[in-house]
């Protein structure tokens, strides 16, 4: 028997030889909790004017935007083709009519070679090599860029350019998330997630992890025009695993209305200066629009917006939630609320020309809004997003990242005072270029403010405070509760990627002197609320916020033993040090979850509500009443702790976790801000917002640089409606 044991032991020893020695590193000593950073407390200073009983201290709403001080480049109107912007006195940005060869950089947009006007790189710095141009042309022949579509569909392009769909692949947070999941699963997660975010890139076999600056321009457009309008079938709940039809600009596209209007254009080629044959000189145009009804039905959205991993993990349930909702029973569609006139509610559609072929509008028809406002927002350089053809022509992405817009480059205020020996990057040494860039950025800021407004409105539609109930206010303590409601009945609030939506209620109780005696929903120095995912709470440097009201779902993994725990990314490495994403070996359809991980949803059901309860212990009372309760409902794209978790694989554009976190916190939105002076006896206060309040503009700009930017919103008077 001993012989056998020795045999086993020796075998174990031999195997163990390949195991590297474990090092012993000293733990970082616990540090005292630093005071909240300005970024962390920024939202708290945001104020609204809808206090009930007492005015809350804070800033006034942003003043009306003054006119831009930069007149070098006139903002393009929504009705103007982006590639054919009217002259604005800027000799660098407009495409040259003379015949210099078009030599774009790899990350520049190339319009169809035979579609005049063809913009050429406006400056010598943006010129690339011919091989890159040829490579891009090959891709253009398979997957036309949104910039190509912009030639005749400028309104749709401009709307899309600032949408979450356009941002999907550019997001450094998404890419780090994707890379982290792939790394944790030894690469077996493959293209899941990113397949939706860049259908074109995945079709082209681009690497999963690569800088967007090195991707094909069309693939970095994320969910671009052809991601929906070159889809042949209604696939159903396939989690984005569908085919995008290949073809150049002349090949058919798919639209809900067919090609009645297109035929009218094609019947008058001289008037519209269009060509339908490859090689002909003129404005290239698709030769057919195949009528595709599903584009107007909810099921088409469900192709992507119901995400089920192949191992059984149900990540997103938006479409399934919708199918179980009252809105669906009424016959409403996703498009009704998310592509209509007013975001978040069925409000009819705009009416107008779907295309501007040259300067000729096509006959008016129902128009859908392609901004798709939602919770995500940009944290990257405004030269990179929103998509802007002129920005792409002026400089490469890497060059844009060198443009220090925060320092004021390209503004009179900066340029007039800049020292003569100020060192600019090579690309931005010319003052004209800096002014050109600033003019473009002013357009960008305006678009960012525009989508910020829409985001604000749709989130206020979905998340509402309906009631405040004071149950007790005496020497024994204070008890109150807040009714938080889902203002829609089309799906849960939040929905979609609810695992990582930082939506929470921030509550502060102050005494007569303004001293905070109770806080919940306050942030740690990183910007997280004080829950288990906060690094400061996890490391026992801050106490757990037991009153926290959050609608962020919980990502749950099953432990080797000990039940389940919250883990920021639901890849189970406790049971298995080598998690593999393979088809579930059980019938996951019957379980509704994968074997080792799941989502704990905490969404508010459609049209429903949830109470947030608070108790201020008598020990916390100062005796200096009356006390005031300040309520803020805050929405933030993702929580900061996600950045911490995914930072290991790095962030695109060489960003740091902290810089992204600061952007997240600065640009989060305080949807509702209410202050209530507590009377000595129980009260109930109705907080339900009116429609006017829901549609009110946000009280702070998306980013400070937006001040002075002109709105590009199409005047409502010029938009006819279908209802």
């Amino acid at each position: 028997m001993w012989t056998k044991i020795n045999l086993v032991s020796l075998t174990l020893g031999a195997v163990a030889l390949i195991v590297p020695t474990v090092g012993f590193a000293q733990a970082a000593s616990p540090t005292p909790v630093p005071p909240s950073t300005p970024a962390a407390v920024a939202p708290a200073t945001t104020n609204s004017d809808d206090d009930l009983l007492a005015p809350a201290a804070g800033t006034k709403p942003a003043a009306a935007a003054p006119s831009s001080d930069d007149d070098l480049l006139a903002p393009s109107s929504g009705a103007q083709p982006a590639a054919a912007a009217p002259s604005s006195g800027d000799d660098l940005l407009l495409p040259s009519s003379a015949g210099a060869p078009n030599e774009p950089m790899p990350d520049q947009i190339v319009l169809p070679g035979n579609a005049p006007p063809v913009p050429k790189p406006a400056n010598p710095h943006a010129a690339g090599d011919a091989a890159a141009a040829h490579a891009q042309l090959l891709v253009e022949n398979k997957f036309p860029s949104a910039s190509t579509c912009a030639t005749c569909h400028p309104t749709q392009f401009r709307q899309w350019s600032v949408s979450q769909h356009a941002y999907a692949q550019l997001s450094p947070v998404f890419n780090a998330f994707q890379a982290t999941v792939d790394k944790m699963t030894a690469g077996t997660n493959g293209d899941f997630c990113i397949r939706c975010h860049t259908q074109v890139g995945m079709d082209l076999k681009e690497p999963i992890l690569i800088s967007n600056m090195d991707r094909n321009p069309t693939s970095r457009e994320g969910i671009t025009c052809i991601s929906c309008h070159r889809v042949k079938y209604n696939y159903g709940k396939v989690s984005g695993r569908f085919a995008v039809q290949r073809g150049d600009i002349f090949d058919p596209v798919y639209g809900p209305r067919g090609d009645a209007n297109l035929k009218k254009v094609l019947a008058q080629p001289d008037k519209f200066q269009v060509v339908t044959k490859r090689g002909d000189v003129g404005r290239a145009i698709h030769t057919k629009v195949i009528k595709f009804d599903p584009l107007e039905k909810s099921g088409f959205c469900g192709d992507c917006h119901d995400v089920n991993l192949l191992n059984g993990f149900r990540l997103e349930e938006a479409f399934t939630q919708f199918k179980n909702s009252p809105a669906n029973k009424r016959g409403e569609t996703c498009q009704d609320c998310h592509m209509g006139k007013i975001p978040g509610i069925k409000s009819g559609y705009a009416f107008g020309p779907a295309a501007m072929v040259g300067d000729q509008p096509t006959p008016p028809r129902k128009l859908t809004d392609h901004r798709f406002a939602g919770p995500d927002f940009s944290v990257i350089h405004p030269g990179l997003f929103p998509f802007n053809v002129k920005a792409q022509q002026l400089a490469t992405m890497r060059e844009w990242l060198q443009f220090d817009y925060k320092a004021g480059w390209g503004t009179d205020a900066f340029e007039n005072k800049a020292p003569t020996d100020y060192k600019f990057p090579t690309r931005w040494q010319a003052i004209d270029d800096r002014y050109d860039a600033r003019a473009i950025l002013n357009e960008q800021f305006a678009k960012l403010e525009e989508i910020n407004l829409q985001r604000y409105q749709i989130l206020r539609r979905g998340f509402q405070l309906h009631q405040f109930v004071l149950e007790q206010n005496d020497a024994r303590g204070i008890k109150f509760k807040v009714k938080v409601a889902n203002g829609t009945d089309g799906h849960g609030a939040p929905t979609g990627f609810d695992l990582d939506r930082a939506y929470f209620l921030q509550v502060k109780v102050t005494d007569r002197h303004g001293r905070v005696i109770f806080a919940s929903g306050d942030r740690d120095p990183n910007g997280d609320v004080r829950y288990s995912e906060s690094a400061y709470v996890h490391n026992r440097q801050l106490p757990f916020d037991k009153y926290l009201f959050t609608l962020q779902g919980k990502s749950i993994v099953t432990l080797l033993r000990g039940g389940e725990t919250v883990q920021v990314i639901p890849v189970n490495q406790s049971i298995d040090p080598l998690p593999y994403v393979r088809p579930a070996t059980n019938a996951d359809a019957l379980i509704g979850r994968s074997a080792g991980a799941r989502k704990h949803a905490v969404v508010i059901p459609p049209g429903s509500f949830r109470w947030a309860d608070y108790t201020v212990d008598r020990k916390l009372l100062t005796g200096d009443g009356p006390y005031k309760v300040n309520l803020k409902f805050i929405t933030q794209m993702v929580p900061v702790n996600l950045l911490r978790t995914i930072a290991e694989t790095g962030f695109d554009y060489n960003m740091s976790p902290k810089s992204i976190a600061e952007n997240l916190v600065e640009r989060c939105q305080t949807l509702w801000d209410k202050t209530i002076v507590l009377p000595p006896r129980p009260i109930e206060v109705n907080l339900t917002p009116t429609n006017r309040q829901i549609l009110a503009p946000p009280t702070k700009p998306f980013q400070p640089e937006s001040k002075g930017a002109k709105s590009l919103e199409v005047p409502a008077a010029k938009v006819a409606t279908s209802e």
Binding site: V22, T320, K423, S532, L559, L590
Partner: protein
């Protein structure tokens, strides 16, 4: 024998570097003499200058050297690097004992640029067989597919995947049956045919073992030594699953009828209530599920109706061809907790075991930073009590917590079996219902290496206390666990396999490469009135 085991463990731990974990005082730690101020290495017990006793004088830990590299861009956009090194002394605190010296990263976010870590990023490991219109989770074109008469668009893809396990192990339960030493192998081989991401057929084999009881390999001990051949072609898994609405989209062209009924039919594994109520590896069943419902005030409600008609193993792990199972299994997410409510009924001939009714309620939640799972399961023998079905209650509780400055887990799991709780269905190799209590209560599912502690819940209480430590990264980990169980009824009715016993175990597992995992286990137990129990094993696990 014990000396050899101890020596083997010592060699093993030393070679794997695990012994580093026990190093409490890193090189460079010092002690200050409170009398004369002399500074000496921490190992000094008396002052080298004045002779003061230093036994109770706290030691200073080694200086911590922190190197910070700053990456900045100058006004030309060029990247510049600057490095600063600071040396600080960290005084030892009691709480440091619980901090992971390898896993701590501090709390503050870094303000240093984090460039993409392109180097070493894993490529997709292709399945060994990949046939179809699209790569399995790989980049590249996805074929459009074709429309079937129901209106569904199919994109067929077939892949083969699975796991192979091979272990060299020795085990002695201490009950007098002697030591078993063997080389055992298991292969779980699957073929998956996707029609769409929601509709698929899965077929599975375990060609190297029979019913989880006999495994191909080599038996060293007890004699005679022999090669074991348990090759077979028995189909262990074969089911079709899908979504009714996705399969017949023409029935609801406007997506308004809500035909989202998921279903599965065929031979499949099943597990409910963490494997307490049902833990079957092979069962023929049909089930229908609704998910993402909003009933009962839940944020998400899932409910499944199930009927199983064949290959049903009862509580005694034996197949009962007369048994039929009816079940209704629900799970609901609420703000603070996930609640499970599972009901089952088994109909069977009296002479093979008899009817049984089963109910399970589960509550999983976080209480502050403490994870808690509570399960209450009850079984009722509707005819007479047999090994297949009996009446009893099992109370099951799990606690766990992640330690600060680390991802390490400590857990405390316990159970209390009242009377004779029985499961509705338990596969041939699934043992009793207590496997989730601890690694000491679970068999390996490979060969004859059984559960160190009995995992039947008949009139007994028990617990397991464990610590899972991640060694720098999560793909290397070690688990320490101690546990025990005590019967709560007359010992005359004890089963010899379920004695009062305490035991301790260590598991080390690590990822070797993109496909392989190494698992090492050792345990020692002290069963009442029996010899010492022990086990030692190494396993290589291959994924493909």
């Amino acid at each position: 024998m014990r000396i050899i085991l101890t020596a083997a463990c010592a060699v093993l731990l030393g070679l794997t570097g695990i012994s580093d974990l026990f190093a409490q005082e890193p090189t460079g730690a010092t002690v200050h003499c409170p009398t004369c101020g002399q500074v000496m290495p921490a190992s000094f017990h008396f002052c080298s200058n004045c002779g003061t006793n230093l036994e109770n004088v706290p030691r200073d830990s080694a200086p911590t050297v922190t190197t910070t590299t700053s990456v900045t861009r100058n006004e030309h956009g060029a990247v510049t690097h600057s490095t600063t090194t600071t040396t600080t002394k960290k005084s030892f605190q009691f709480s440091d004992i619980f901090r992971n010296p390898l896993g701590g990263h501090g709390s503050a976010l870094s303000d240093q640029p984090a460039p993409l870590a392109l180097k070493g990023f894993p490529e997709r490991p292709k399945p060994i067989v990949e046939i179809g219109l699209s790569p399995f989770l790989g980049s590249g074109p996805i074929a459009p597919g074709f429309v079937i008469p129901t209106g569904a668009v199919w994109q067929p893809d077939f892949i083969v995947f699975g796991t192979a396990r091979s272990a060299l192990q020795t085990f002695d339960s201490g009950n007098g049956k002697g030591q078993i030493t063997e080389w055992a192998n298991r292969l779980d081989l699957y073929g998956n045919l996707y029609f769409t991401p929601t509709e698929r057929i899965l077929i599975g084999f375990r060609p190297l073992d029979r019913d989880g009881l006999d495994y191909s390999g080599y038996r060293f001990d007890p004699p005679p030594q022999r090669l074991k051949n348990d090759l077979n072609a028995y189909i262990t898994t074969l089911f079709l699953q899908g979504d009714f609405g996705e399969l017949f989209p023409r029935l609801d062209p406007n997506d308004t009828k809500n035909l989202d009924y998921q279903f599965a039919v065929g031979r499949q594994p099943l597990s409910f209530e963490d494997g307490i109520m049902i833990n079957e590896d092979v069962i023929d069943a049909v089930g229908i599920t609704r998910t993402s419902l909003f009933g009962l005030g839940a944020s998400a409600l899932r409910t499944t109706a199930l009927f199983a008609w064949n290959e049903l193993n009862r509580n005694d792990n034996l197949r009962d061809n007369s048994a039929r199972l009816f079940g209704l299994f629900s799970s609901a997410d609420y703000d603070k907790a996930t609640i499970d409510l599972d009901l089952a009924f088994v109909s069977a001939d009296d002479y093979t075991g008899g009817d049984g009714a089963y109910i399970g309620v589960g509550d999983t939640q976080r209480i502050g930073l403490l994870n808690s799972t509570t399960r209450i399961n009850a079984s009722f023998a509707l005819d007479r009590e047999t090994p297949a079905v009996s009446t009893g209650v099992l109370l099951f509780q799990q606690f766990s917590m992640t330690l600060p400055d680390s991802e390490d887990i400590v857990y405390l799991d316990g159970f209390w079996g009242i009377a004779d709780y029985s499961s509705a269905a338990r596969g041939g190799d699934r043992g009793g219902p207590l496997g989730q209590t601890g690694i000491l209560f679970a068999a390996q599912g490979l060969g004859s290496y059984g559960a160190p502690l009995g995992n039947r819940a008949n009139d007994a209480v028990g617990l397991a206390l464990g610590y899972q430590r991640f060694l720098g990264s999560k793909d290397r980990q070690i688990v320490f666990e101690v546990g025990g169980r005590v019967a709560t009824r007359d010992p005359r009715f004890f089963s010899e396999d379920q004695p009062n016993e305490i035991a301790a175990a260590v598991r080390y597992q690590m990822k070797l490469n993109q496909h392989m995992v190494l698992v090492l286990d050792v345990f020692v137990g002290a069963p009442e009135d029996n010899d010492t129990a022990y086990g030692l094993r190494s396993e290589l696990l291959l994924k493909f």
